[in-house]
């Protein structure tokens, strides 16, 4: 645990993607820039791994603690594998002329800028800085969703931009209210925005002001998480943007917004007189889960369908953290990690499927296990994993959550179980049509291009069969901090 090395790693975590974005914006050759994109992501991942072992001293602006290292590592890993997938994906997009080389310079720069913004949001100690970083992440994804410039893509990007901005504006109002509550006790200036000071002193804050602030923050950052009443941007943004961006959106950005919400939940938890944030989060989570479960039945677009599945899973995670307690928080943390890995793997697969078949319409895709056996079967495994079948990690976390809920609130557990079953049967129904049956086509995809997807699924399966003791004790420790 040397703080000096930690400082270096922290600087690298932010400077590497930021510098990468600038360099990538100037490189015209797409092969070079795709390779560089992968290298930059690998370097960022190693910085995140170094932060796990070496923590820098907290400052008023940046803070690395047990909670955000989990998010940083998951983010770094998925960011890295997605950059590998992206390299193959964009080569195909260039061949089919859906994208031009100029677009790719922009795309790679934005990809790294997004990584920078997400890392900054995770390590920010200042709640204002965290807000700025999430706003930046939103803007970079908006322009990437609109990258194809079709009418549908522009409309999706516009919808995302408007709803995301409104969400982010509400979150800023909440942030200002938290500052006002803190300013009476911590004095004017930076300390009243530093999260670690806020958490330590929140017992003295004005409860009415904190309550109001949390409502704004829940609605604001909840929009970015994709929770049910304010989720409308999410399916369109996932369906119309480039598939690597869908993977990063689902796998990472939703988590970052949830992380911001958790930071404020901890401030609320320190004050005994405020409304408990738990029931609000449980309600929103449950509504998202059930709503998204029903919406899964009527989807015609394959990416849109898995976007609704993301809403469902973010609902489960929010519910778990809202419920709180050591087991539910542990389940929430595990589920978040497993969902990130599995959902990005699904989007890798779906990206190849839509490129090979030339369509995203579910009705037009049939018999994948015949036309492209390796990809087809990997997709079958991935969908089985996300639907919560054993022996995958998603099953473990859902099982933990249901049992711990059952012990504390049986009715809630029943509703949770019903929601999970609805989503499960919808996915099973669609998967059957997609994967099985006769297909006249035969495709060949290089096996190495499926490596990122296989790696994710291997990790998810390994976590479901045997979760190493170090990870269990690490997650348990983090869960105890999340309350």
């Amino acid at each position: 645990m040397s703080p000096g090395f930690g400082n270096l790693a922290l600087a690298g975590l932010l400077a590497v993607p930021a510098g990468g974005a600038i360099i990538l914006a100037t490189i015209p050759r797409y092969r070079v820039s795709a390779a560089l994109n992968v290298a930059v992501c690998a370097l960022t991942l190693s910085c995140a791994a170094a932060l796990y072992a070496h923590r820098p001293e907290p400052s008023l602006y940046l803070l690395v603690d047990d909670v955000n290292t989990v998010f940083l590592l998951v983010g770094g890993l998925v960011g890295f594998t997605t950059s590998l997938f992206s390299a193959g994906y964009i080569a195909h997009e260039l061949e089919t002329r859906r994208l031009k080389t100029g677009d790719l310079r922009f795309y790679h720069a934005m990809y790294q800028l997004l990584m920078f913004a997400m890392n900054l949001a995770l390590v920010a100690n200042n709640i204002g800085l965290m807000w700025v970083a999430i706003e930046l992440a939103t803007l970079t994804t908006v322009v990437m969703v609109g990258l194809y410039r079709t009418n549908a893509a522009l409309e999706a990007a516009w919808k995302y931009f408007i709803l995301g901005s409104v969400g982010i504006a509400l979150a800023l109002f909440g942030t200002i209210l938290v500052y006002l509550a803190a300013e009476q006790h911590l004095g004017e200036g930076m300390t009243a925005m530093a999260w670690d000071h806020l958490v330590r002193r929140s017992a003295a804050f004005d409860p009415a002001l904190l309550n109001l602030a949390f409502v704004f923050l829940l609605l604001g950052y909840g929009t970015k998480v994709g929770l049910a009443p304010v989720h409308a941007w999410l399916p369109d943004a996932h369906a119309e943007g480039p598939t690597p961006i869908s993977a990063v959106l689902s796998g990472l950005l939703l988590n970052v917004a949830l992380f911001a919400l958790l930071r404020f939940k901890l401030i609320m938890a320190g004050n005994a007189q405020v409304l408990s944030p738990g029931p609000m989060m449980v309600t929103m989570g449950l509504v998202s889960l059930v709503f998204a479960g029903f919406m899964l039945y009527r989807r015609r677009d394959i990416k849109r369908m898995f976007a609704y599945s993301s809403i469902e899973h973010m609902g489960i995670i929010t519910l778990a953290f809202g419920l709180g307690g050591p087991i539910a928080s542990f389940a929430g943390l595990l589920h978040m990690t497993m969902h990130s890995l599995t959902k990005s793997a699904i989007f890798f697969g779906v990206g190849y499927v839509s490129q090979l078949e030339g369509t995203q319409r579910i009705a037009d895709i049939r018999g994948l296990t015949q036309s492209e056996p390796l990809l087809g079967w990997l997709l079958v495994i991935a969908v089985a994993a996300i639907a919560g079948l054993p022996p995958f990690g998603v099953f473990t976390s859902e099982f933990l959550l249901v049992t711990s809920t059952f012990a504390r609130a049986p009715w809630l557990a029943a509703l949770l179980g019903v929601g999970l079953m609805i989503a499960f049967s919808a996915l099973a129904l669609r998967l059957h049509g997609l994967a099985f049956g006769d297909s006249p086509r035969r495709h060949t995809l290089h096996a190495w291009r499926l490596a990122p997807m296989a790696l994710h699924l291997l990790l998810v399966a390994a976590a479901g069969i045997y979760l190493p003791g170090t990870i269990v004790s690490w997650f348990r420790h983090v869960a105890s901090q999340l309350g």
């Binding site: 204002g128 409104v166 504006a169 004017e188 925005m193 109001l212």
Partner: protein, 224 residues
Amino acid sequence: MTPLDSDIAHLLAGSMLLVSFLLLYQDRMFALLNFFALHACVLALSVGWQAYLQRAPHLYITALIALAFKGVFIPVALHRIVVRLGIHRTIEAVVSIGPTMLIGMALVALAIVVMLPVTATEGVFVREDLAFALSVLLLGLLMMITRRNAVSQVIGFMSLENGLILAATGARGMPLVVEISVAFSILIAFLVIGMFLFRIRERFDTVDLQALDMSRGEASGGEA
């Protein structure tokens, strides 16, 4: 702070709310842009007054950004875009003016009912400033919901951000980072919007022939 000082602050914040209502019932694009410029100018005055009261020179920068960027640059730029796209004649409203104004008044009442009890421990100035700010924010939101047209949605969003800046400057000693970053993020946000409008126009030019004809016909009418 003397009573006169806080009266002036209230006058300015109240004027912003008034201009928000004016924005809400404009049905012509250019009038909407002009009133938005006025909104930004009143914000600049209000922030400048706060800078003077709080002896916080950095707030003058925020005021200047509001004046130059949102009071002048953006309205001019949007004016040109509107002329070029030929959408200056009408603003399609989802809800008609009368009900919109009633909803707007209800939102202001809601903002006051919510904010005043919550901020009971704050000074009198902060309380009312926050109530005004939340009202402006909610009216901006209402405008975004009730308008179909992209430009008026953008105006609604920016008036909403003006409300946020009013709130941020009203909170005593809120660190510089936030003010600058708010202003900065608006800049980025506008760049994004600009890009979108550019691309949407590109679509008009290349794909939709009927829209192209309409756009040309109306654009020449607008310049005449």
